[in-house]
């Protein structure tokens, strides 16, 4: 009985891991099926689908659009998120609460509603649907994350650090360029990768704010509604591996930057001179 209980938790954990990975592995396998239909069992295998999708004009165009959107939206959300974080750090009490509530508001709206509200907004200001509109929508969605990440880092920064720089002769521009931004750089890089992924993954905003050109998730969605072939499994797998790799790298990057600091502290903190 006791043994069973000790096995139960790891068992549930690995069952969950299987639930997460099995569909993805099955999908990757489907990409190798030598047939025009998505079906099991797989009797004969081919790498043709994987080769073919890499030359699919529509897919390449959608990936290229997704990449441009991701980059543009990330740049916007960091350029805006940084001063928002600075402003938030300066406020306190009720004002800060109100500001934070407004900043994170888009994250708490149902995605469909948020996307539609932005669709109405761009229509009114005369912005065409398309690349810029999608990037704008993604920036709105990812900016709160930038603010939270930057603010977390900013809170760990000693108040005296900027003062020390001023005391040593640094004016406000130099304080920003030499002290504050370098100090924030791990958070900024983390935010950069996070925003890229968030944008690249997004479907709903791209769907409602997009024009004639489709981002990759929108293209995939519309193809899935017409029917499946192993090629879709192949390209999905390729994107899956690319984004997961990128995501893991981002995760590890943020983690080691932070952990590296802590461990070096504890390793040398006790040594006396």
């Amino acid at each position: 009985m006791n043994k069973l209980r000790r096995m139960a938790l790891p068992g549930l954990f690995w069952l969950f891991v299987a639930y997460l990975f099995l569909p993805l592995i099955v999908m990757a396998a489907m990409g190798f099926r030598d047939s025009n239909f998505v079906a099991f069992p797989i009797h004969s295998w081919t790498t043709q689908w994987y080769r073919e999708v890499l030359f699919d004009r529509d897919i390449l165009a959608s990936l290229w659009l997704s990449a441009r959107v991701a980059l543009l939206s990330t740049v916007i959300s960091i350029v805006v998120g940084l001063p928002v974080a600075f402003l938030t750090a300066r406020t306190s009490g009720l004002l800060r609460g109100a500001l934070v509530a407004l900043v994170v508001l888009p994250a708490f709206l149902p995605v469909v509603v948020s996307a539609i509200a932005l669709r109405i907004f761009i229509g009114r200001i005369g912005l065409e649907t398309g690349m810029v509109a999608i990037a704008f929508g993604h920036a709105v969605a990812s900016m709160p994350f930038v603010v939270v990440m930057v603010l977390t880092r900013l809170n760990s920064m000693s108040h005296n650090m900027a003062d020390a720089a001023r005391n040593l002769g640094a004016d406000e521009v130099i304080v920003l360029v030499r002290i504050v931004l370098p100090y924030l750089s791990p958070a900024l890089l983390g935010a950069f990768m996070f925003c890229m992924l968030l944008s690249f993954e997004d479907f709903v905003r791209s769907f409602f704010l997009g024009g004639f050109e489709q981002t990759f998730p929108v293209l995939l969605f519309s193809r899935l509604r017409f029917g499946f072939d192993p090629g879709l499994a192949a390209i999905s797998t390729i994107i899956l591996i690319a984004t997961t790799g990128f995501g893991l790298y981002a995760e590890r990057f943020i983690r080691t930057r932070r952990l590296g600091r802590d461990t070096s502290l504890s390793a040398t903190g006790n040594t006396h001179d």
Binding site: F16, F40, R90, L118, E201, L220, F221, I239, T244
Partner: protein
């Protein structure tokens, strides 16, 4: 770079500008606040207000030279057709159930990673579980289609095992949708739970055991109360995510089980003249969802205060 900036200070105008900036707190505040205020006003507030405005329009876009006609009929439309109300209620029931299912599935996983697994491995285990979440909703939906389709992996496996009655209709119903949705939401549950559970000092459990509390008591009296914040945060995130889902219900759900978010999306996907209706529905959905979640949070927090007193 620095050298350049230091050198620049030799020029009196630049010098004067720097001094002005250092001296004037008001100028500093204005400069720092400018972009945030403009952006938040433009992206976080205005679109919502415009949506509210449009929801009261008789029609949109307003024709040139014609006066705006105000109406409540788009709100009334919601109550007039059982189709809408059914979808609305279905959405809330489904999102609530999906949230509970996610919590029940993810809690042991978060508990295992944060409390039971060796500390040295916990980071790696967490990464392992997080990894698939960098994949988009659409790809994940597709992966489950491949799994559950009539000639998909599961049915193929079952028929190989000699189970009679294959293929089973596994796809395009609430079960397949739930399987897919939980797949999507578990990260949003996992991270707050993990953060809350990790904060619980292991010594508390040791102390409770030392005081004679059996495993079940340790769980209900120590672990659950101390992870309440994580549970509330996770449930809130997951609920709001599910209530706004658009793509996955169309790919994995049944054709007769439309959720309200899809209803709204389809209204908007049509021509522009249906925007006032869609706006009104959006506001109904948002208002109810936030109120529902607010009620949920308030309920739990009151409980906690009562427990502490």
């Amino acid at each position: 770079m620095t050298r350049l900036l230091v050198g620049l200070r030799r020029f009196p105008p630049y010098r004067a500008l720097l001094e002005l900036y250092s001296r004037s707190p008001l100028l500093r505040l204005l400069l720092v606040a400018f972009i945030p205020v403009v952006w938040i006003a433009a992206t976080n507030i205005t679109p919502l207000l415009q949506m509210i405005e449009i929801s009261f329009y008789e029609q949109y876009p307003v024709r040139q030279g014609e006066p705006i006609e105000w109406t409540l009929r788009h709100y009334a439309a919601f109550f007039e057709r059982s189709l809408y109300i059914t979808a609305f209620v279905r959405s809330f029931v489904f999102a609530s159930l999906a949230t509970i299912v996610t919590l029940v599935i993810v809690f042991p996983v978060a508990y295992y990673i944060s409390k039971v697994a060796p500390k040295s491995a916990s980071t790696r285990l967490l990464l392992l579980v997080i990894a698939p979440f960098w994949v988009s909703e659409i790809i994940r939906s597709f992966a489950w289609i491949v799994m559950l389709a009539n000639r998909g992996a599961v049915n193929s496996f079952l028929s190989m095992m000699g189970l009679p009655g294959t293929p089973f209709e596994l796809l395009y119903n609430n079960i397949s949708l739930t399987i897919g949705v939980v797949y999507l939401t578990s990260l949003y549950m996992l991270l707050p739970l993990y953060a809350a559970l990790e904060k619980i000092d292991d010594n508390l459990l040791a102390a409770a055991a030392n005081l004679g509390a059996p495993a079940r008591q340790r769980f209900t009296r120590i672990v659950l109360p101390l992870s309440r914040e994580g549970i509330v945060a996770g449930c809130t995130l997951v609920f709001l995510l599910v209530i706004g889902l658009y793509a996955m219900p169309q790919l994995l759900g049944g054709p007769n089980n439309t959720l309200f978010a899809s209803t709204i999306g389809q209204i908007f996907a049509k021509a522009g003249d249906s925007w006032p209706l869609g706006s009104a529905f959006s506001i109904i959905l948002t208002g109810s969802a936030l109120a529902y979640v607010g009620l949920f949070i308030a309920l739990f927090q009151r409980k906690r205060r009562g427990g502490a007193a």
